[in-house]
Symmetry: C2
Subunit: 342 residues, 2 copies
Amino acid sequence: MSRRRVTLADVARRAGLSTTAASMILNGRPDTRLSEDAHRRVHAAAAELGYRPNVAARGLRTAKTLTIGFVSDLVATTRFASGLIKGALEAAENAGHVVLVAETGGDPKREGEAIAALLDRQVDGVIFAVMRARELFVPELPEGTDAVMLNATNARHPAAVLPDEEPGGRAAVRLLVEAGHAEGIALIGQSDEAEGDVFRSTTVARRVAGIRGAMADHGLEFVAEKSIWQWEPQHGYTSTMELLRQCPDVRALICMNDRLAFGAYQAVTEAGLRIPDDISIVSFDNDEVTAYLRPGLTTIALPHEAMGRRAVDLLLGDEPGAETLVPMPVVERASIGPPRGR
Amino acid sequence: MSRRRVTLADVARRAGLSTTAASMILNGRPDTRLSEDAHRRVHAAAAELGYRPNVAARGLRTAKTLTIGFVSDLVATTRFASGLIKGALEAAENAGHVVLVAETGGDPKREGEAIAALLDRQVDGVIFAVMRARELFVPELPEGTDAVMLNATNARHPAAVLPDEEPGGRAAVRLLVEAGHAEGIALIGQSDEAEGDVFRSTTVARRVAGIRGAMADHGLEFVAEKSIWQWEPQHGYTSTMELLRQCPDVRALICMNDRLAFGAYQAVTEAGLRIPDDISIVSFDNDEVTAYLRPGLTTIALPHEAMGRRAVDLLLGDEPGAETLVPMPVVERASIGPPRGR
DNA sequence: AGCGAGCGCTAAATCCTTTTAGCAAGTGAG
DNA sequence: CTCACTTGCTAAAAGGATTTAGCGCTCGCT
């Protein structure tokens, strides 16, 4: 059993120098005038003793702890936050930092307590992540602590990381057009007519704008639009069923997310049609659910891990805070094919 | 903007006492002989100034940081680790602790570094979690630091939290028997004959033992057993297809996990049979994928969150370290019905 | 010879808290 | 009146690092 952690004093003693000298050498201070020999001895001593600095003690003096806080409303319910955390963990590790995770369940009281707990531990910065992109309330932070919004925005903290939804929306349309589709394209999940300007979330608004912008640019119009409030498989199923009945000449579906697409798959299959021979489908998110779909669903991915990484880089870097958009990769699988008359 | 964090010295000054007195009062030391009046003044001062102790400084002195480390091989890939983390976070919050999360990807080098980073921050204890239950290598920890294995075991650290698989396995059989099944039960995913004593994981072994034990107790035998290495939907599909061809009198399926069950659903449906009218299905895990199945899949759940909570309680409590088994809840949905001749 | 600068290093202060040792005043017993 | 003890409180040390200020010497220059 290791008796006691080895301290800087131990290293200095073994190297025959003061702790000051040892500290300066180990931290590679630029103005160091210490001799070559001293450097050698200190590094040797540190290595032999297996010295590791005590971060708490250092933090006490420097007010830097090499620790960042990650506060999210929901950690586990979906794969969503997990991806963000994974990316953040990776980037933090690369930067020699470590991550304190706190979950608030969206409850402002718990949020306040969580943040206080993090600040008590002198975190260097905080990442605030939410599931559904929105303007997020953030309590006041002490001066030295910066914050980055992840999938969220906040007036006082302009540094934010969001998926680049507009081009993502355009990409979905482009995939269909490139496959030869021009007529019979339907939109599952959103309808301007039905929803007007009701606000879903920052990102959804941009996604829709991208889709509609691209349609307009190509001079196309949707053959039908289905408004759905909860983007769950069941509603994707019923809406698609309805659509197929009302509108037999539909040849392609843009689903607002993969869960709707999952339901659409069921409806299409049940109607005796085949994907992509009779109907092409493209969707968004690259949700875990896509793993269970045959044929594979072509989808515009939410770049969770990249976003998590980016947030940490932004927090640790010293670029001025601004909104950073992370590209949404196109995941091409097998659900899009050329249109075919039926 | 708050200028500077308020320190204990500020509180003491405002209360007209020494920092010693303030410290003793705020920490509620039992042997305190300080006056009622002093208590009042210190508490008032602390409240007015919004004093929060600096955990790093306290930890420096007490070697306690109210922080625990959570090391896992995979945080995000499946919902698995997320559930564990969520539970751990909850329990830690209740105990006034905070959680440092580190991911190792299963790489021993990263694992070593992650643990070192946690120890540099003086964590009070560490939870080691792995996806697939197994004996886990854990590097030596300093004396004061305890460890709890989560979904894993380790000879040097007997405190471990595992799902209680044996009764879980028995429950699956019981559900079928209670619905009236006695013949035509097949096992999808495991076959003693094909696999012999090959070791999958601690927990799987117990799950199988429970299933086989219950079958034997009821004097039943499987009409077929399908060995499958990778428990993924695709293989569940092909194995079930095969089974239905070879063995038309099958009436119930025990699937080793929900992903296999997902494939089995597809196969059964495609064969023109209905669940549960023609075939009953029961399975394990209560994976997210079950949300997408119609009719709802009856499954024996892996109690991830409860396990995460339990691990923290074990770590923070002072019970002697031992293996703790967390019950697996039966999630009854609609995939089991009475057997019917075809 | 005298002065300033450079060199190689260290003592001491600092960060914030807890803990140990002990001081001064009052009280009760003898 | 003295001694021992209690009461209510504080000074100082400790914990492990970083940072500031500066010491004593040599060298080069005028």
